[in-house]
């Protein structure tokens, strides 16, 4: 049982961009799942707080031969760095490559990729697969998220360019008239000099703006921006679905003529911004008014910070509670692994209903 598919020059560039973006958003492995209808690539980061998926219909390819059906679960996993190698250089794919074929067989330990150049040379890769064969699936229905907004990727990307760093978390606050984005400062030790940016977008700038209720959600910045950059290069609109602070945020795109779809499921982080509004104190860096409004504040040393020992305040894909005592060594709860309660569980092999974990269950 196997698959053989071919990409021509026109699709190859899109495919290369998709692979590069997917590898940036995920962790160490990418899963390829093959059916007679589509080829799906999925990855999740090590903390299981982001889950990215790109599904290419058989119509995306110039030829597609696959004997497997959905029930056959034909899939493989490959290290991210290995999958990236043939598609590392977009310049090479654009300038030299004319065709790319992908072959996989269920009884093989390798994924074979062959690129044929415009001048007749042929480059073949035989990439080793990982030994982990568990099928990764996210059991979550994004249609259950009742609020959704759709806009050109360029609009969001232009807004994100106002942020100094694509690090940490991004908070999205939305009501009937506007959507605001702001970055979260969660690293108190290295807070000095950081720029706090808040940006508003008017509802009229969106293609679709459906709200069940006003809400505020917080999610990882870097992966979100990577996905939006990919959508922008493909010139596609981006849809954000969300509902409340206890549900994930799903960002999705649909390719031209529906030949491919992409989605990014982001864990909703419920921790408070450690720099409170009333303690934000510093120099106003810029204030731009061009349809949207942007406010930026640079945090200065005058802000009093609680006494926290090094390494304990860094928020890194987990819920960390920091407590301080007067004059004594602060007691800090250990960093929690790697499970976001409101993302649910990313399940291997079997389909299990979404499990919501409470904080007490995390402690156990």
């Amino acid at each position: 049982m196997g698959i053989q598919c071919t990409l021509r020059e026109n699709e190859l560039r899109s495919w290369g961009r998709a692979i590069q973006s997917l590898c940036l958003m995920g962790g160490n492995e990418v899963q390829l799942q093959f059916t007679d209808v589509a080829l799906t690539l999925t990855t999740c980061d090590d903390a299981i707080s982001t889950f990215a998926s790109l599904s290419f219909n058989n119509t995306f390819f110039s030829s597609y031969e696959c004997e497997a059906t959905d029930a056959d679960n034909l899939h493989c996993k490959i290290p991210t760095k290995c999958l990236l190698k043939p598609f590392r250089s977009l310049k090479f794919l654009t300038k030299c490559a004319s065709e790319c074929s992908i072959e996989f067989s269920s009884n093989s330990d390798n994924l074979n990729i062959t690129i044929i150049t415009k001048f007749g040379a042929k480059i073949s890769y035989s990439l080793h697969l990982t030994s982990n064969t568990e099928l990764l699936q996210l059991d979550f229905d994004s249609n259950s998220l009742k609020s959704n907004v759709t806009c050109d990727a360029k609009l969001i990307l232009g807004s994100l360019s106002n942020f100094h760093e694509a690090k940490g978390d991004l908070t999205l606050k939305i009501d009937e008239t506007k959507m605001s984005l702001r970055n979260s400062i969660t690293d108190l030790v290295q807070k000095q000099g950081k720029v706090y940016t808040e940006l508003s977008l008017n509802a009229v700038d969106f293609i679709e703006y459906t709200l069940q209720q006003d809400c505020q959600v917080t999610f990882p910045f870097r992966e979100f921006k990577t996905f939006v950059v990919f959508a922008d290069t493909m010139r596609l609109p981006v849809t954000l679905r969300f509902m409340s602070q206890s549900t994930p945020v799903v960002v999705s795109i649909i390719g031209k003529e529906g030949t491919y779809e992409g989605s990014l499921t982001l864990g909703n982080r419920s921790h408070p911004d450690l720099v409170e509004n009333d303690s934000r104190n510093g120099n106003l860096v810029t204030s731009i008014d061009a349809g949207s409004s942007v406010t930026q504040t640079r945090i200065s040393t005058s802000i009093p910070i609680p006494h926290i020992s090094q390494g304990s305040e860094r928020l890194n894909n987990g819920s960390v509670t920091v407590s301080t005592t007067n004059g004594s060594v602060p007691r800090v709860r250990k960093k929690r692994p790697l499970l976001f309660p409101n993302l649910g569980r990313v399940i291997p092999s079997k389909v299990i209903p979404l499990i919501i974990l409470s904080d007490s269950e995390i402690d156990e």
Binding site: P79, K81, C82, K85, P86, R88, S89, F92, K95, C96, N110, T117, K118, F119, G120, A121, K122, I123, S124, Y125, S126, L127, H128
Partner: protein, 306 residues
């Protein structure tokens, strides 16, 4: 005032041109600077001044030898002492490149940092004068830019006589002539795999194959003999040889600058890569690379090294 603006006062009043064994004046500074940079992967470079021109030669670890030959025709003036057939000395690469750094570029077009973005009226008029007096004296470089003269003196050392003699013309078993740019793109794909070794196989009337085995898996690149980038393909017998990829990587800079290149392999597996530079200079860069192991006594019908 002397030709090209070099004033006599810059050469010290007590010297006269007859004291110098070699004097050369050249205007194509950026191209020559980039040629020298393409082989400056060692700390020292051997300089040989001959009737036909100047040759810069480097050698690393007895695995690779590279040379740049700047032909006499490139020079506006080329004066070699009548008593010397050849003048040899060694100078440090870093200092030589420091002298020429403002004319170095990274682009295939050869546009240098000194001329990048400049309009035709702003491009500085530059010329280079190189001089060497005698053994023990420094190698002198006078750089003239619109009348501003910079004087460099680089200390010389004795020429390294133990360079490997890479004679292979009579024993060449395969010779290919290819367009350099696509070859550079193809070898650039190998860099992504970062292999330790690369195996080159040439099959008569068929193809040249390059392959490597890395942590990610196996990678092969096949160029058929009738590919658009192959301008000439001669192969007497099937031959295979393996080379260190880190050593082959030293050729990439020259490959990026070149338009046409040739690949030759001889009967013991020595690889010779020659890169012809753009027509302005008629210069070329040559690399000799030894295979991973040398074996004696190959069967003539099937040569294989490693």
């Amino acid at each position: 005032m002397e030709q090209n603006g070099f004033l006599n006062t810059q050469e010290r009043a007590q010297d006269n041109p007859g004291d110098y064994k070699f004097i050369g004046i050249v205007n194509h500074i950026p191209i020559i600077a980039n040629l020298v940079k393409s082989i400056a992967f060692t700390s020292k470079v051997n300089v040989s001044v001959m009737e036909r021109g100047i040759m810069f030669t480097v050698e690393e670890g007895k695995y690779i030898q590279a040379s740049v030959t700047v032909l006499r025709d490139v020079f506006e003036k080329f004066t070699l002492s009548s008593t010397d057939l050849e003048i040899n000395f060694k100078i440090p690469s870093k200092e030589l490149l420091d002298c020429l750094k403002f004319f170095l570029s990274d682009s295939r077009s050869g546009e240098s940092f000194s001329t990048a973005g400049a309009t035709s009226s702003e491009v500085p008029i530059s010329s280079l004068k190189v001089m060497y007096k005698s053994y023990g004296n420094p190698f002198m470089i006078l750089l003239d830019e619109n009348g501003v003269i910079t004087d460099f003196q680089i200390k010389t050392e004795p020429f390294e006589n133990e360079l490997m003699e890479m004679i292979m013309e009579d024993s060449v078993v395969a010779k290919l002539i290819l367009t350099a740019e696509p070859m550079s793109d193809l070898l650039g794909e190998f860099e992504g795999s970062n292999p330790e070794h690369i195996r080159i196989s040439i099959y008569p009337n068929k193809e040249i194959k390059m392959s490597c085995d890395g942590v990610a898996g196996f990678m092969t690149c096949v160029i058929p003999h009738n590919s658009d980038i192959v301008q000439g393909f001669e192969c007497l017998v099937e031959c295979h040889a393996t080379y260190k990829f880190q050593v082959l990587r030293h050729t990439f800079k020259a490959m990026n600058m070149s338009q046409t290149m040739s690949i030759k392999i001889d009967s013991v597996g020595v690889l010779c890569l020659t890169f012809l530079m753009p027509a302005k200079t008629d210069s070329f860069v040559e690399f000799y690379i030894l295979p991973n192991t040398l074996e004696d006594n190959f069967p003539t019908d099937e040569l294989e090294i490693v």
